[in-house]
Symmetry: C2
DNA sequence: TTGACACAGATTGTTAACAATGCAGTATCC
DNA sequence: GGATACTGCATTGTTAACAATCTGTGTCAA
């Protein structure tokens, strides 16, 4: 563990609070929490056995990362990204993750490759077992693992945020049943990194991300149209 | 203004809260707030004429971005990045900003180039007028302006955070008097973008960032040694 | 039947008082 | 004289009560 990560742990306020944030993060990543799901304070308080303050702090942090939306006097909801946000997230991912794999390929014998191989193996196993939740979780987590290879908590945090938001985007705009990352592309990315070919690594990850992005239908009216209800009741 | 940006404004809670965050952000970027500066709740409440809750929320948001450190029962302080954090920030900047300028150069006739030119001109004027605060502010803001060219609030937010943290890092580890971005390098970056040469743009920004990074002395004991006092009193 | 209106319940937002902790200044002892 | 222990003050952390807002239900009239 690096110095910076240690510091983060030490400074970061409460373990309960962090737990709430982590749990909601995980649940979103595993698509167990759908966009627009209401996160009532009372429920969260009871679930985690903490006071309202902790819950509200956690929700504020989540909202600052685009995972949760806070609507004044109405409460907190799992975020419902707009098509424009979706564009932003994937644009950012293309840019940042390209840099991540390029650099990894460049430094070649980077540590952490073994962890990546293991990760992909777990993905295969989950696929073999048809464990949908686990497949989705590992698919997203792979990209976080790539970032982790840099031992850089800034990069890791950004990628984790973007991957999680991608999960919401796929939930809203996904067309294919299994729109998560397809089987062998993760392995190809690792191969390119190991072979020390930055260009190939970049091509692979871009191809991979575009593959996911192109499986979306951003034009389509979202599964739940947000303002429609209000408009129709004449309150808008 | 894009859809996503509008949404952010609409959802984002309080204008007062945002104001506090923005002001502290700006003050750090202009090096008016040095690392380890105490941010007492009472002072902030009086300064902005808001309740304690708003201040505490703002401080929480700032701490989640590494601008402020919250020490339990002691209060909030402007962050004091460790050498390891400094490494992380500059590593991330190299990666992300390279991508930003490369892409801009690739799409060539990107909008916003005029704004960049104007920005550099303002920098020159500030330099001519020897307005140190303005020089520092504009130097950092240039990198944010580069990010803004992508019309991507995610990228802009990340870069703004990293630039602000860089300001703290320079304040702590800077060696040269004017360790801010040197004069003509910003112009060179724009030129490379305009000429549609991604590789040159990337080289320029990397050279520029390394220039700043190399002007730091990360090995040196920080200007204010944090634990020293405690160690000497024998309480550690 | 449909729409508007009003009321009740529930949920969130805010405030203020209280508790807990850290810090500084003082006194005491070696 | 120096170091340690103690006390008072200031600041932060927490809780609980209160206020404001929204949502859903029921009633009434067109």
């Amino acid at each position: 563990m690096t110095d910076a990560q240690q510091k983060l742990d030490a400074v970061q306020s409460d373990p309960d609070e962090q737990l709430i944030v982590d749990r909601i993060y995980s649940a979103v990543m595993e698509q167990k929490l759908a966009p627009r799901t209401k996160l009532s304070e009372q429920t969260l308080c009871e679930t985690f056995g903490v006071g309202r303050m902790r819950v509200r702090r956690a929700l504020l942090l989540l909202s600052s990362q685009g995972i949760v939306e806070l609507h004044s006097n109405r409460g907190a909801f799992i975020a419902c990204p707009s098509p424009d946000e979706a564009r932003e997230v994937f644009e950012a991912r293309l840019m940042i993750e390209s840099g991540i794999v390029r650099t990894l390929a460049h430094e070649n014998g980077s540590l952490g490759i073994d962890a990546l191989r293991t990760h992909v193996k777990e993905e295969d196993e989950a696929r073999a077992a048809n464990d949908r939740t686990e497949i989705i979780r590992l698919s997203g987590e792979f990209h976080v693992e790539l970032a982790k290879c840099h031992n850089n908590s800034v990069l890791t945090r950004v990628v984790r945020e973007l991957v999680t938001r991608s999960s919401l985007i796929v939930a809203l705009f996904g067309t294919n049943r299994d729109s998560s990352c397809p089987d062998d592309e993760h392995a190809s990315i690792i191969d390119a990194i190991v072979s020390g070919d930055p260009q190939s690594a970049e091509d692979n990850i871009q191809h991979h991300l575009l593959h996911v992005k192109n499986s979306l239908d951003l034009e389509r009216t979202r599964k739940v149209e947000p303002d429609l209800a209000k408009i129709l009741t004449g309150r808008m």
